[in-house]
Amino acid sequence: MRFMVIVKASKNSEAGMMPSEKLLAEMGKFNEELTKAGVMLAAEGLQASSNGARVKFSGNKRTVIDGPFAETKELVAGFWIWQCKSLKEAIDWVKRCPNPMPGEEAEIEIRQVFEAEDFAAKFAPEHRKEAERIYKQSSRQQ
């Protein structure tokens, strides 16, 4: 199973404050452990939402809203994609993670990534093959 592990933003991350050398070293060590264990698939950090934008879709209309966005605690600051055997294994790895926002309250969210089979499983048995094909085609999964 693959999991997306989302680090939520904080006041400091939204202020564009970069992680300290200490946190980078601790995080680097944690990432190396994830890699050695075969858990790590990808990792990215995001710039503050002030460098971002939102596009609102309503019928044929598109409205662009420039950042920053106010709901700091709901914003994504970074993420990993992990390969784990269960949600429990992913939770156990997160518990070992250094606090990503030192001196602040931090929250990490663990979400299961959809595979084509999960999508297909929601259909009646006779339609599953077709559903899997459509999902793979639309998401370009091989």
Binding site: F57, G59, I134, Y135, S138
Partner: protein
Amino acid sequence: MRFMVIVKAGKDCEAGKLPSKEFMAAMGKYNEELAKAGVLLALEGLAPMSEGARVKFASKKPVVTDGPFPESKELVGGFWLWKCNSKQEAIEWLKRAPFEDAEIELRQVHEPEDFAENFTRALREQEPRARETAEARP
């Protein structure tokens, strides 16, 4: 420049309702165009929050809470990673997406250079190594 394009989870999405065949086909075509233009780097959809969890770091010990979280309005439903020459180019691509009622967020992804000041030489060596190992996997 790389951008993360975040699709929020709607009520239907969180209830496990599936998108229509027409929407899936339109999305397939759009993804094809992104790929042909060399914009598409990755894309994933997420399962509802009921199959996830949150871990809070406030004191010494992390605290785990299982999903779902009905109060949350800003759950991630899925995302793309794009490579574009500018934020404007990313916005133009996003405007062409086949959504009818949605709010999509565009965020710039950090590159290793962004951390330069606090990135010691040791870390610089560590990071590509971890990436290479991770990328070598299918």
